[in-house]
């Protein structure tokens, strides 16, 4: 009993740390993606009057009066800002509209004729936007993250082509991450085998070659690739000086450059797990296979490869998960066709303070990662049982 308690005390800080810095932020992000209570709480009278309107006809006077009343009672400028930002994200134009309306309301004491403040208030589109954000929860962000929206009748329909491309960008993100994972595996597996098979100072050097880049800033490594890959960069100059090419190879601002740079940056995450599995494999297995008559290739395929499979799997998972969140490398090395989903998330978060959209896209990435993790768990236990 006492030992039990002691263990709990020791685990306590860790549990607290995990809860504070992992679970709580994660829960916050997930709530942000669906929570939408700001406007409804700040505009109680409007919320009360909204159900009486059919959303198609010109907005009734009661609704207009309710909005004026709510806005007049609003004394918190930052809350007002939250409302405006939310509304402008649904319907562009609310920024100037609300600014003008608020000025008019603060100047008048009695009722305010919204139509004379701005003609846009006669347009049901703006009122539909307001009524649409009164509910405390919304699926709008999650739908928009997948290029879907609700039409006037509430049915889920695709957003018109050309207005949003999150699906394309998400698929591209997964595709680039997959290509990088395969490239890392193709280079990383033989490399890890090489490291595991040599000893002494040679192994130290090979390991250092993998570890040193890992300890260098991501930005520095990406910038280095930028310099190497450009039209008058080291690679093109070298190829030209030996006469292999006449015009510079386009290596920068395209997919090839992104894959090259990302593969280099993420390679340590592939090599290290494989290496750690390989060094644990008894050294006498390969000679044993040979003594039983297996030629080297067959021994490799039947013994070494299956045994290193777990390392390969966890390396692939690490590389893939890290790659889908990449931002700096595609932004600097890639062209417009290579931008990944994190640049879109960054725009919503830092550019327009639309935390709902940023969170929804983040939740999608999280969901993809969870699915992969489950697949990984299933694959690795399956293998272990058989091995």
């Amino acid at each position: 009993m006492r030992r039990h308690l002691g263990a709990l005390v020791l685990v306590g800080p860790l549990a607290l740390f995990v809860a504070l810095f992992f679970l709580w932020p994660l829960a916050t992000v997930m709530t942000q993606a669906v929570a939408d209570s700001t406007v409804g709480q700040a505009l109680p009278a409007t919320s009360g009057a909204a159900p009486d309107w059919d959303r198609q006809s010109p907005p009734p006077e009661e609704l207009k009066a309710a909005l004026v009343e709510d806005l007049r009672n609003l004394d918190n400028r930052q809350l007002f800002g939250d409302i405006v930002r939310r509304l402008n994200s649904v319907q562009p134009g609310f920024r100037t509209l609300m600014g003008r309306t608020m000025t008019a309301i603060s100047r008048a004491d009695g009722p305010v004729d919204l139509s004379s403040v701005d003609r846009r208030w006669d347009d049901p589109v703006y009122w539909r936007a307001i009524v649409g954000v009164l509910a405390p929860y919304t699926d709008r962000h999650l739908l928009a993250a997948l290029d879907l929206e609700r039409d006037g009748a509430g049915a889920i329909v695709p957003i018109p082509a050309g207005e949003s491309a999150n699906r394309t960008i998400l698929l591209r993100t997964f595709w680039v991450a997959a290509v990088v994972t395969v490239a890392c595996a193709v280079i990383g597996l033989p490399y890890a085998m090489l490291v595991a098979s040599v000893g002494g100072w040679l192994r130290q050097i090979l390991l250092a070659a993998i570890l040193l880049p890992l300890w260098t800033s991501l930005l520095v490594r990406t910038a280095a690739w930028y310099i190497l890959l450009q039209d008058r960069g080291l690679i093109n100059d070298a190829l030209r000086s030996v006469g292999l090419i006449d015009a510079p190879l386009p290596l920068l601002f395209n997919r090839a450059g992104v894959v090259i740079a990302m593969t280099h940056v993420l390679l340590p995450l592939m090599v290290l797990p494989i290496y750690s599995v390989l060094v644990a494999i008894p050294k006498n297995l390969m000679p044993a296979a040979a003594s039983l008559g297996a030629p080297p290739l067959r021994a490799f395929l039947r013994i070494l490869l299956p045994l290193s499979f777990r390392g390969l799997l966890s390396g692939s998972l690490l590389v893939f998960m890290t790659a889908i969140g990449y931002y700096i490398t595609p932004a600097l090395i890639g062209g417009p066709q290579d931008q990944m989903i994190s640049s879109i998330i960054a725009f919503y978060a830092t550019g327009s303070a639309n935390w709902g959209m940023a969170a929804a896209l983040g939740v999608l990435l999280l969901a993809a990662t969870m699915v992969l993790y489950i697949v990984y768990g299933w694959l690795s236990t399956d293998r272990t049982a058989r091995a």
Binding site: L8, R85, R95, G162, E163, I169, T350
Partner: protein, 350 residues
């Protein structure tokens, strides 16, 4: 017993957090945030350090890269650690409407009549006037582009071009290239057909554009020969010309200028001294020193008149440079940035 111990552990951990947190709170120095690089180096020399000496208070300066979300998050988290921030016109409009910035006491800062109209705002005081314009390397192109139509003309000027990634500026430039007179650009852009027209014009050049994101990139692209012309911030162009002896040229017709302003974050700890700082940075004798470091226009009219003649030609506020330039329409962009950025990203991804 078990529960008691557990709660004691939690309480202990919380207490430790509180104590540690409380230890960090003390009177903070005046913190001024600007755009970094050689611009902030100049500001340190002519504003931050002299002000610190005159007022006898330490001034801490930090750099940021813009982004309305950064300010909003800082305010939402409470107790922001910045006092004075230099913001772009759009952030000024958004932040002022959203209550992120203090309403300024102009009496303590400057006479509004001494300052350009576009530099006066209830939440902000203009710091610089800067411009985005076509830039090319005079050492490569003896006869460079003269308009956005030339920028689009890949027959006359073969090679890649580069533009700032995002709809702002890009759509305006596309319309100018399509023959819309400079004075009517925003009238056209306010209609859905105008936006379609801009994107259609961009389609023509799409394959030849490299998109840049931070202000140093376009000049690097130009210097390395990766592009033949680019849009760029005028201050950086003169900066690189002076420092590295380049001959980059700025094409003023069709350029778009905007005002950056000083603001004070709402509820800032050093609100009082922040007012004094902005007043100091707005004084003509201090402001007029800026162009010898960076070629940005000055909002204070008297300061603009005091600039040494050799620097005048490079400023966006010089009448000859302003003739066919237009101001950024902040109202248009605060309404439409989000919707048009989503569409722009979709267009890029196609």
């Amino acid at each position: 017993m078990k529960r008691k111990l557990l709660s004691a552990t939690f309480a202990g951990a919380f207490a430790a957090t509180l104590v540690l947190g409380a230890g960090g709170v003390s009177a903070r120095d005046l913190t001024v945030v600007s755009w970094g690089g050689n611009y902030q180096d100049a500001q340190r020399e002519i504003y931050f350090e002299p002000f610190s000496q005159e007022a006898g208070v330490p001034v801490l300066d930090e750099a940021w890269d813009g982004g309305y979300g950064i300010l909003q998050a800082k305010m939402q988290a409470g107790n922001p650690n910045w006092d004075v921030v230099q913001v772009e016109a759009e952030e000024l409009a958004l932040g002022c409407a959203d209550g992120l910035f203090e309403i300024l006491d102009w009496d303590r800062i400057a006479d509004q009549n001494d300052v350009l109209d576009s530099a006066v705002n209830e939440c902000g005081v203009g710091a610089i006037v800067w411009s985005t314009a076509i830039t090319y390397d005079g050492a490569v192109l003896a006869e460079g582009p003269a308009s956005w139509a030339d920028f689009w003309d890949t027959g006359k000027f073969p090679g890649k071009r580069s533009l700032r990634k995002g709809p702002k500026y890009t759509l305006e430039f596309a319309l100018m290239a399509d023959g819309v007179p400079v004075g009517e650009v925003y009238d056209v852009l306010r209609t859905p057909e105008g936006v379609d027209r801009a994107f259609a014009k961009l389609d023509e050049l799409k394959a030849d554009i490299i998109w840049w994101e931070s202000g140093a990139q376009p000049l690097q692209l130009l210097a390395s020969g990766q592009v033949v012309m680019t849009s760029a911030y005028n201050g950086r162009v003169t900066g690189i010309n002076r420092e590295e002896g380049r001959q980059f040229k700025v094409v003023w017709p069709g350029s778009i200028y905007a005002v950056d302003s000083w603001v004070i974050l709402a509820g800032a700890e050093n609100r009082d001294i922040a007012h004094d700082f902005i007043a100091f940075a707005s004084r003509p004798e201090n402001q007029s020193k800026l162009p010898q470091y960076v070629a940005y226009g000055l909002p204070n009219k008297e300061a603009a008149a005091m600039v040494q003649p050799e620097f005048v030609e490079e400023l966006p506020t010089t009448p000859a440079n302003m003739e066919e330039a237009i101001p950024l329409d902040v109202d248009f962009w605060v309404d439409n940035t989000e919707a048009l950025t989503t569409r722009f990203n979709a267009w890029l991804a196609q």
